[in-house]
Subunit: 205 residues, 2 copies
DNA sequence: TGTACATCAGTGAACGCGCGTTCACTGATGTAC
DNA sequence: TGTACATCAGTGAACGCGCGTTCACTGATGTAC
């Protein structure tokens, strides 16, 4: 049982790293089993085919990302009860986490999948969609809380603003990969944070 | 001569569309030549190997994107001489252009390449890097002009702000692809525009 | 405590298919004299 | 105006290699009686 979990997540680790560097099609089962030190047959014991690998990889990534956001913003809420400050602290924690990764964040499995989606079945594509919709809902909810306490200096669509959190992260990771730099994503998050500080102003009652 | 140019760009058109949907590795020469109605040998008359196709595709994409930005912001400058308003108009034109694409912008070749960069040689990767650095320089220059005339409400790094234009576009396109919606990129650009309106304020002398 | 059987987590050889690439050839157009 | 040769823009058959997948088998561990 312990070995099973171990092998399975070793496969997923290796696959994820390779997919982010070369794409899904170019990630061969041969190289995965070589890295995980199992035989070809061993791979197919854990995943019925390559598409099942893609789905498992995405599911794991989305779960991890959601758990991270949960944790980050729960800590932020502990530090400050005001919804705007909670948001700002959470974003700062996210930026710091990205910056502290020794060789930079390797990129987002969702973006990679989105740019190769014809390779996958409808289920995988929907997983991707639901993940982004989930983040929209999460951040939209937080912005609604903020808007109850603060005024808005310019009218904005809160769904779009919620998407902007994901968009800024995704965009930052693309820049980071293309530029071969390490801190673009955290820098972009910090700029977005400044945006929020300018956008939301104390309500005058 | 005319036929040559025609076949070559037909190949590039088909390759680009396929790369954005499936990635570079999954784009086969077989399907390209079927689409372009030539034989396998005909492909290799135009490109010495598949890497040469990748490079030509990227070069063409970057040139087109630069030409588009040139044109958009030249028109914006015609409409308003003030550097901030020129920026705001240019971004609006960009957002409108993205929105007017009948089936949505298909995505960015640079992002796709960035997420598969181990497939390419150093030259291709550098092309990608230089393109983004070029946009950083372009937009940073525009923001410097703005900062000469306007004050800045919160301190920001102008390089990072320049990158944010590319980042917001890239991020918006990832959202758009993952969500299978059409207007996320233009929406994100409009939000960024609001950011700039809040950030730059008339200087009090 | 011993025996029989089932399940788990693989091994490793074999398969056929599709891929990128090469190459000898071709017919149309362009150029030199 | 006619002839010889060169270049352009391909054709289409052939190549070998690596890919995803299947399958018969195996040895270790778990469960029932």
């Amino acid at each position: 049982m312990d070995q099973k979990v171990d092998t399975r997540s070793r496969i997923l680790d290796i696959a994820e790293a390779s997919v982010l560097e070369k794409g899904f099609e170019a990630t061969s089962i041969e190289e995965i089993v070589a890295g995980a030190e199992i035989s070809r047959g061993g791979f197919f014991y854990h995943f019925k085919d390559k598409n099942a690998l893609a789905r498992a990889m995405l599911e794991r990534y989305i779960d991890a990302e959601n758990a991270l956001y949960d944790e980050l913003f729960a800590r932020a809420r502990e530090l400050n009860d005001d919804p705007l400050h909670c948001m700002l602290i959470g974003l700062k924690l996210l930026a710091e986490m990205l910056e502290d990764m020794p060789s930079g964040h390797p990129g987002c499995v969702i973006a990679s999948t989105a740019y190769q989606d014809r390779l996958f079945d409808e289920g995988v594509r929907d997983l991707n969609r639901q993940a982004i919709l989930g983040w929209r809902k999460r951040f939209r909810g937080m912005f609604e809380e903020i808007a109850e306490v603060y005024g808005v200096k310019e009218p904005v669509n809160l769904d779009a603003l919620g998407d902007m959190v994901s968009g800024v992260v995704e965009g930052g990771l693309v820049l980071q990969r293309a530029l071969r730099e390490h801190n673009n994503a955290s820098e972009q998050i910090m700029l977005f944070r400044t945006y929020l500080k300018l956008l939301f102003v104390p309500k005058q009652t």
